[in-house]
C-alpha cells in the first residue's frame, strides 16, 4: 500500500502541520512515511504545500508530481494541482473562497466545508483537523487512535490539553465530508 498525497493552501491554514500529523500517524502505525514541504519565502504569507507519502514499503522519491489524493484549500492550489491527480484519484477541497470549481471528470471529488464548520464550532484553529477527518473518512489508511497518538507526538506537551478538541474536529470532519462526483 502506498498513498501519495499533496496538501496545499495558504500559509497559516495549518497545511504543514496537517501533513506532519498524517506522517506521525503513519509512524505510529509502523509504516514508512515522508513529508516534503515547500519551503522558503513562498511559505511566508503565500501558498504552502506539502507532499506526504505513507507506504508499507521503503519510499523511493519523496518528491513526486502525480498524486493519489490532493487536499486543496485555496483557489491557487486548485489551479496548480488539479491536473496532478492520478486518473481515478481523489480530490478533497473546501469550497470556501473557491470561484472556479474542479472540472476533471476522471477523479472522485469530495467537499469538506471545514472553514464554515470551524467557525460554527468556534474553534478556527481546528480547521485543518476537520479536513484531516474528512480525508480519513475517504481514505482510512491510518486508524483514528494512531492519529491521536500522532497528534500527541507532534504537539508540544503544553498543548496536550487541546487534544480532545482536535479529536472532536476529526470526528466532525468525518461527518461533514460529502461526495460531489464519482470518477468516470
Amino acid at each position: 500500500m502506498t498513498e501519495e498525497i499533496i496538501i496545499a493552501g495558504f500559509g497559516g491554514q495549518g497545511v504543514l502541520s496537517m501533513g506532519k500529523i498524517m506522517a506521525y500517524s503513519g509512524v505510529m502505525q509502523d509504516m514508512e512515511v515522508s513529508w516534503m514541504p515547500s519551503y522558503g519565502p513562498e511559505m511566508r504569507g503565500g501558498t504552502a504545500n506539502v507532499i506526504v507519502i505513507i507506504s508499507s514499503e521503503r519510499i523511493s522519491s519523496p518528491i513526486i508530481k502525480r498524486f493519489d489524493t490532493a487536499i486543496i484549500l485555496n483557489q491557487q492550489s486548485l489551479d496548480k494541482f488539479e491536473s496532478s491527480i492520478k486518473p481515478g484519484g481523489v480530490l478533497i477541497y473546501d469550497s470556501n473562497g473557491i470561484t472556479r470549481h474542479p472540472e476533471r471528470k476522471d477523479i472522485t471529488i469530495y467537499s469538506v466545508d471545514a472553514t464554515e464548520e470551524a467557525s460554527r464550532m468556534n474553534s478556527p484553529k481546528t480547521f485543518n483537523m476537520i479536513v484531516l477527518g474528512g480525508f480519513l473518512k475517504v481514505k482510512p489508511i491510518v486508524k483514528l487512535d494512531n492519529v491521536i497518538k500522532g497528534l500527541k507526538k507532534s504537539l508540544p506537551e503544553r498543548y496536550h490539553n487541546l487534544i480532545p478538541m482536535n479529536e472532536n474536529a476529526l470526528t466532525r470532519g468525518m461527518e461533514i465530508i460529502t461526495e460531489v462526483q464519482k470518477a468516470k
Partner: protein, 356 residues
C-alpha cells in the same frame, strides 16, 4: 541500548545526531535551507547536558576557522551551511586539509551560481570532490539519500575524519534537509576525554610542542608532504568506497545517481520495469572516493549508462572516466532548484540511450 524512533527533518536529524555522537563543538551561521541545524542545537542547548559548545559565528569564514581551531585541539567539531556559505568556507577548508585536521562539514545544497535559489540542487559536486579551495587535496565526501543517513553520517563522518586525519563533507541537499522521515537515533555517546597525540592542548614537559600548520617554505618539504597526502588519498580510494545497488543484477541499462536524485531514480527503476525495461540503479554513497571500479565492472554488462543529477552535468565526468568508453554514457538533470521527476528520467533514458 535501543535506538530511538523519531520523525524528523534531515537538518534536525543532523543536529540531534551531533549531540548524541558526543560532538564537542558546532560553529555555524544561518543560511536557508539548513538553518534548522543551528536553531535545533540552540534550542536543545547541549552545553547544559553533554557540554557541547554551540556558537553562532559572525560569518561562514569565522565559523570554519573556529572549526580549524577546535579540530587542532583534537576535538570533534563541525559546521554546516548551504552552497553560498560553503563557498565562503573554502579558504578554511583548504587550510584544514593542509593541516590534516579531522572535522565534519555539512552542505545542504541549493541551486547556484551566486545567490541562485534556495531550492534543492546538486550543483556543488565539482566543488566538493574536485577541490573547492586551492591546492592538491581531497575531502572525504558522503552523500546521504535519506534523513536516516543524514543522522548516521555524522558518526561515520567523524569516524573517517579521525581515522585519516582528513576533513569530511556531508553533501546533502535542500530536499533531504527539509523533508521529514522516520529516523532511528543512536543512544547518547559520551564526549571523548582523550586527545590525539598531535593535538594542541598545552605542551607538558613530557613531549615536544605540537604545531598545527599548513605552511612549509621549503619546496622539498612541501612536496614530501604532498606525496604523503597522495598516499593517504590512495588508501582512502582503496578502503572507503561505499555504494548501494538497486536491481542491477539483470539490468540492461544503468542509472547512476546520488542523494535526492537517487531517490527519484529508484522510482524510475520501478516505473521502467513496469514498462518492461530492465533498469538498475547504482547510488554512490561516497563521492570521494568514487565507486569507479564498480561502475567499470557494470559497464561490461549494461548497454548504456545515464548519470542523473540536479546539475548541468558534473558527476557524469566521473561516470565517463569509470565506464572508460565501454558503453555510451549520458547526463540528464534539472537545474535551478527543480527536482527531476521519475518520468523524465525514463524519457531521457529512452531518448538518449535506448533509442540513441
Amino acid at each position: 541500548m535501543e535506538k530511538e524512533l523519531r520523525l524528523m527533518k534531515g537538518n534536525e536529524a543532523v543536529a540531534e545526531a551531533a549531540i548524541r555522537a558526543g560532538v564537542d563543538g558546532y560553529f555555524g551561521y544561518p543560511i536557508t535551507p539548513q538553518t534548522e541545524i543551528i536553531e535545533y542545537l540552540m534550542e536543545a542547548n547541549p552545553s547544559q547536558t553533554t557540554g557541547m559548545v554551540v556558537l553562532q559565528a559572525e560569518s561562514e569564514i569565522a565559523a570554519i576557522n573556529m572549526v580549524y581551531g577546535g579540530a587542532a585541539c583534537g576535538k570533534k567539531v563541525m559546521t554546516s551551511s548551504s552552497s553560498p556559505g560553503i563557498s565562503l568556507k573554502q579558504e578554511g577548508i583548504t587550510y584544514i586539509a593542509g593541516a590534516e585536521l579531522p572535522c565534519l562539514i555539512v552542505n545542504v545544497v541549493r541551486g547556484g551560481p551566486g545567490l541562485g535559489t534556495i531550492q534543492p540542487a546538486q550543483s556543488d559536486y565539482f566543488q566538493s570532490v574536485k577541490g573547492g579551495g586551492h591546492g592538491d587535496y581531497h575531502l572525504i565526501v558522503l552523500a546521504p539519500a535519506s534523513v536516516q543517513e543524514m543522522a548516521d553520517f555524522v558518526d561515520l563522518g567523524f569516524e573517517l575524519a579521525f581515522k585519516y586525519r582528513n576533513p569530511v563533507l556531508m553533501l546533502s541537499d535542500g530536499a533531504i534537509g527539509q523533508m521529514m522521515e522516520k529516523v532511528y537515533l543512536s543512544p547518547q555517546k559520551e564526549r571523548s576525554k582523550v586527545f590525539p597525540d598531535w593535538a594542541t592542548t598545552g605542551k607538558p614537559a613530557t613531549r615536544e610542542r605540537n604545531i598545527i600548520t599548513s605552511l612549509d617554505l621549503d619546496p622539498n618539504g612541501q612536496e614530501l608532504f604532498n606525496r604523503k597526502l597522495v598516499a593517504k588519498y590512495d588508501k582512502i580510494r582503496e578502503k572507503e568506497v561505499r555504494y548501494e545497488e538497486f536491481q542491477c543484477e539483470d539490468a540492461e541499462y544503468l542509472l547512476v545517481a546520488y542523494g535526492t536524485s537517487a531517490r527519484v531514480c529508484q522510482k524510475s527503476v520501478q516505473l521502467a520495469r513496469e514498462q518492461g525495461i530492465r533498469v538498475g540503479l547504482l547510488r554512490p554513497i561516497t563521492l570521494f572516493p568514487f565507486p569507479t571500479k564498480r561502475i567499470n565492472e557494470l559497464a561490461d554488462r549494461v548497454k548504456g549508462i545515464l548519470s542523473v543529477e540536479m546539475s548541468a552535468g558534473q558527476m557524469v565526468e566521473d561516470v565517463l572516466l569509470a565506464a572508460n568508453g565501454k558503453v555510451p554514457v549520458w547526463h540528464f538533470g534539472r537545474m535551478g532548484g527543480i527536482v527531476t521527476t521519475p518520468e523524465e528520467v525514463i524519457e531521457n533514458l529512452k531518448s538518449k540511450i535506448i533509442g540513441g
